[in-house]
């Protein structure tokens, strides 16, 4: 498969601080790719290098066929960038925002008109041209921001936390648009620390301290890094059961969420734990299996990676 992005041993140091540490990956054309990590993990530094805004210390990267060292001007023409936070002028009308970005990208008048008509149709902004951007509901503003970012028909679209903090229905509609773009062959590069947003990506890389510490599709990642079963226990007396369970050798990990407990144990040991507790004659509890979230995986890998580093 044709690659939209190829990264090999990419490294960036700031003084003694290694922000990005020999990372390698490639993204096939048309993929929805998710790049995750907490603040300071090295995500933004990587993107700045891929967009041609920052020179790497060492390593190679090819973006849409262009070399990031020597062809940054070409790269800027074939990428689009959208961030939920600050990409639109809120006191301009919808159409004025579109016009502004068209000028930035150097579209001529004729091309601008046909492109805007096409995008309004695709993104569903028809009839909203005269509205003030800041007064639009968040879901609409997002669509407009996306339209502005793809006016110049970029090959690769960088989305920075595109739907963070947005309600589930508006978010889903936004992702339908993203999937359409990807079906047309556009490559989508999403960075986020919202893990529910990452669930929408086809392939995920989790970054920590400049390195990639987990990768795969969301389903693969959960299976690979969380092979055991996760159980949930709801109780009126969380502390008492928590303190007891903590001492049981079968429990690999236990966390307390208010009145709920999440336990990591292998399925065949669930029964013996339950029987031991019931034998104490204090009461009963029930465990129900739950699917680990990407957040569970993320935090676990982070703890493991932190441990490795400490050695």
């Amino acid at each position: 498969m044709e690659s939209a992005v190829i990264v090999e041993n990419l490294t960036r140091k700031f003084g003694h601080f290694v922000a990005v540490d020999h990372i390698s990956f490639s993204i096939p054309r048309g993929q929805v790719f998710g790049f995750l990590g907490a603040n300071g993990a090295g995500k933004s530094t990587t993107i700045r290098m891929l967009c041609g805004l920052l020179k790497p210390t060492s390593g190679q990267a090819i973006v849409a066929g262009y070399d990031i060292y020597h062809q940054s001007e070409e790269i800027k023409k074939v990428i689009g960038y959208m961030s939920q936070k600050f990409s639109l002028y809120r006191d301009l009308k919808v159409k004025e925002n579109l016009e502004f970005f068209a000028r930035v990208y150097g579209l001529d008048n004729k091309k601008f008109k046909s492109r805007v008509a096409e995008l309004e149709e695709k993104i569903g902004l028809s009839g909203k041209e005269e509205l003030i951007t800041g007064k639009l509901p968040v879901g609409w503003r997002q669509r407009l921001a996306l339209a502005c970012a793809i006016l110049h028909q970029p090959e690769i679209i960088f989305l920075d936390e595109p739907t963070g903090g947005v309600d589930p229905l508006a978010r889903r509609q936004f992702w339908d648009l993203i999937y359409d773009l990807s079906s047309e062959g556009k490559t989508i590069f999403v960075t986020t620390h919202y893990l529910d947003e990452a669930e929408y990506c086809q392939e995920i890389k989790i970054m920590h301290a400049g390195r990639i510490i987990a990768e795969g599709s969301p389903a693969q990642i959960k299976k690979r890094y969380f092979p055991e079963k996760l159980f949930e226990l709801v109780t009126a007396e969380p502390l008492r059961i928590y303190n007891w369970l903590k001492e049981q050798p079968e429990i690999e990990q236990i966390s307390l969420f208010g009145k709920k407990l999440h336990l990591l144990i292998s399925s065949d040991q669930v029964k013996q734990i339950q029987e031991r507790w019931n034998g104490l004659g204090i009461g009963r509890f029930d465990l129900r299996p739950i699917v680990p979230t990407l957040e569970d995986v993320f935090i676990r890998r982070l703890e493991e990676a932190g441990g490795e580093k400490g050695k």
Partner: protein
């Protein structure tokens, strides 16, 4: 602890809160969830005494509220979305400042315990501006706790906070809950809301549902089948408008189908085979609050599914 009856609030023609009811008991942790513009923040502002409702009754700590007296206010802690810390003051100075505002004259012990509680102790001499997003939120929370309120109102405190700090923040809230405080918090994250004792789903100023996460999930008239396939997108395109499904959602390599409880997996398998589509895995998964929420929203606004999200959250 708190009883809200028939609360109403309009801004001009826009009805922000409409016949809203809610109860919060001691040691309860309630999440208020809803789309942008649903009225969550307005509700919180009313309960903090910062906004006057047009009508409705509020009962706090066993007494009907006529006006939010200063005595009442000191029993409530409110963390707004854009809480202002003093950026050029240190962590400790911020806490001292807010303690002073609430008339705490010798707050040393209290500040010490808050620093310990929020694990901000090692950073007490750092300027607030130099803190990470997650630590700023913890400090903001600590500042709203200096007067030791019994009811804590938090407006989207975890938006923009990374997952590790988010968990940390939640652990702090849980310990407050165990100390006997009641918490009402708004959040756009449904995965987060699943950890609350009860969840209130709000839309267009109204309460759609209010129950424990377990009961809300059990109320869903169906089950969720999850299909894992490299062809997920093609499958979604083929089946998203199929009337056999109450809801279809594509997420990366998975497609989730909300189906009636009687639905047989075999029917889905057959229609995939007929269309020459392959899959790796098909299994029933536990529904999430997101399934419930989307189901309820679609029931309320059938038009919204066709890309028509006009009017939702729009103030104009």
């Amino acid at each position: 602890m708190l009883i809200v009856k028939n609360l109403n609030k309009s801004f001009g023609p826009f009805k922000a809160v409409s016949n809203f009811n809610l109860t919060i008991g001691r040691e309860e942790f309630i999440c208020l969830v809803g789309p942008d513009g649903a009225g969550k923040s307005t509700t919180l502002r009313i309960l903090a005494g910062l906004e006057k409702p047009d009508s409705g009754e509020i009962e706090l700590f066993g007494k009907k509220v006529v006006t939010f007296t200063s005595g009442l206010r000191t029993r409530i802690g409110y963390l707004p979305q854009n809480f202002s810390l003093y950026g050029d003051l240190t962590v400790e100075e911020n806490l001292k400042f807010f303690a002073g505002l609430y008339g705490q004259h010798s707050p040393e012990e209290l500040i010490k315990s808050l620093l310990e509680f929020t694990r901000l102790g090692p950073f007490k001499d750092r300027q607030a501006d130099q803190l990470s997003g997650g630590m700023k939120q913890k400090l903001s929370l600590a500042c709203t706790l200096v007067h030791q309120p019994e009811l804590i109102l938090l407006d989207e405190p975890t938006t923009g906070v990374d997952p590790v700090s988010r968990r940390d923040f939640w652990q702090i809230l849980f310990s407050l809950q165990r100390e006997g405080k009641s918490i009402l918090m708004t959040t756009p994250y449904l995965d987060e809301a699943e950890r609350a004792t009860r969840v209130a789903l709000m839309n267009q100023g109204q309460l759609l549902a209010f129950d424990t996460p377990e009961k809300l999930i059990a109320s869903l008239p169906g089950k969720v089948l999850e299909l894992v396939s490299p062809e997920s997108r093609v499958i979604y395109q083929h089946l998203k408008t199929d009337r056999a499904f109450l809801d279809v959602q594509l997420r990366g390599d998975r497609v989730d189908f909300l189906v009636s409880k009687e639905y047989q997996e075999e029917i889905l398998k057959k229609s995939l085979v007929d269309k020459n589509l392959s899959w790796e895995d098909l299994a029933e998964i536990s529904p999430s609050l997101e399934n419930v929420f989307i189901y309820l929203l679609k029931k309320e606004n059938p038009g919204r599914e066709n890309g028509d999200i006009n009017g939702i959250g729009s103030h104009s």
